[in-house]
Amino acid sequence: MTRRRLVLSVNGGDHEVWVLPSDTLLDVLHDELGLADVRYGCGEGVCGTCTVLLDGEPVNGCLILAVQAAGQKITTLRGLMGPGETLHPLQECFLRRGASQCGFCTPGMVLTALDLVRRRGRPSRDEIRYALVGNLCRCTGYTKILDAVEEYAGQAAEAAPAEVRS
């Protein structure tokens, strides 16, 4: 197997990488680019710890090949943060509500919840539950995560009308 040169657009910057055709996007983001916020959990698309946004949509980093992601905008949790690693408002909500304990699931939770709020505006608690069903958390029991997402959706709805939010 020969390596191929790819340019991946990650969190707003272009990165040249040499990958095997069988390398997953997760392999390359975590092992080659050192993005510790994209994590191997199950390798089956069930747990959500390798979630990244591909052109704004949550996907399983473990179930997509790096070669398939070239030419698309990849966003990891880090890509949501402001200059100087200031927290995204949704991360602030997670902190305030105690929605993160060991933190392993948090990047996937935050990216998935953010996609939901962008698409649905102010989702019901059941809609939040349904959107996050594929993100497993072994610490919090989920209640505080739902609280955090609900709080953020409320804030975001007040801050901007649905069509302006991106």
């Binding site: 996907v59 997509i64 069903v133 594929g134």
Partner: protein, 300 residues
């Protein structure tokens, strides 16, 4: 675990993909959304030497032509769930896809990939059977149409030839006086179905008694299963007045019991065969009554 090494090629068209697949023989696999194949690779349940990515082979959208809902095979689950034409012309499928995977899986997984994967617990496969869907398969010799009722052979095995690719899924568009229901039992939302039942009921012109019914089941055999007409006797000409949840005195229970009795589901780690048979009985009766209620307009 990580996948074994393989080569990768992106096909720009179905014809190119068919050619690559024919050249690759046993060692080549088609990659569509990758939400079933990639887990199998990561778990080392499959060892292809070449993946042929068809994601860029087609960019058509769902359409309706000649009374058929035409779903390009690369239509993603999320589109099935949300697309206006799907919700209008096959609400059964849109409702069933609610149960498929999670948001990430639905963003990538495709309707053609799901059918070609032929999982015996497939929600989409059971809907294809219940609606009388057909797939268009393209191979080196051209295209042919395969009815869903002939597509599924056994666990993860279809009637497609080695170098055939599904390009389209054709579903008869819903008609007036038709009602549908999708019932599924899982331990956690998004799990593989323990048992799922897809039902369509069509009323006669007076819009009260049943003119035709179809019932398909997932999780009960080595493939998704369509109940034969001999199992549905007693439905035609009848009304189903019983409650969807608590039942009642109508033909649904007898038909459900007959379907359950015709099946011999295997025991596995998720459920015993006996439990699955019981679920078939309960969920089929519910599905028939709900589909009937929808057809009469009593339920939205």
């Amino acid at each position: 675990m990580v996948a074994p090494a393989f080569e990768y090629v992106a096909a720009g068209s179905y014809d190119e993909a068919v050619r690559l697949l024919a050249d690759g023989g046993d060692e080549a696999k088609i990659l569509a959304g990758g939400q079933s194949l990639m887990p199998m690779l990561n778990l080392r349940l499959a060892h292809p030497e070449l993946l042929i990515d068809i994601s860029a082979a087609d960019d058509r959208e769902p359409s309706v032509e000649g009374g058929m809902l035409v779903l390009p095979a690369l239509t993603r689950h999320r589109v099935l769930l949300e697309h206006d034409l799907v919700r209008r012309h096959c609400p059964l499928l849109a409702a069933a896809v609610w149960h498929v995977g999670n948001v990430r899986v639905r963003n990538r997984g495709t309707v053609g990939g799901s059918l070609a994967h032929a999982d015996p617990t497939s929600e989409i496969g059971s809907c294809a059977l219940a609606t009388g869907a057909q797939v268009i398969a393209r191979g080196p010799g051209g295209e042919r149409t395969v009815p869903a009722s002939e597509l599924f052979v056994s666990y993860w095995t279809t009637a497609l030839a080695e170098s055939e690719i599904i390009t389209d899924v054709l579903i008869p568009a819903g008609r007036p006086r038709q009602g549908w229901s999708f019932q599924e039992m899982v331990r956690r939302t998004s799990d593989f179905a323990i048992v799922a039942v897809a039902a369509l009921v069509e009323l006669d012109e007076r819009a009260d008694t049943i003119a035709a019914a179809r019932v398909a089941l997932a999780g009960v055999a080595d493939r998704v299963v369509l109940a034969g007409p001999e199992l549905l006797t007693g439905l035609t000409g009848s009304t189903l007045a019983g409650s969807i949840l608590t039942g009642g005195d109508d033909a649904a229970d007898a038909v459900a019991a007959r379907i359950a009795g015709s099946l011999d589901p295997a025991d596995d780690v998720h459920a015993s065969g006996d439990y699955r048979r019981r679920l078939v009985r309960v969920l089929t009766a519910r599905a028939l009554r709900e589909a009937y209620a929808r057809a009469t307009g009593a339920v939205a």
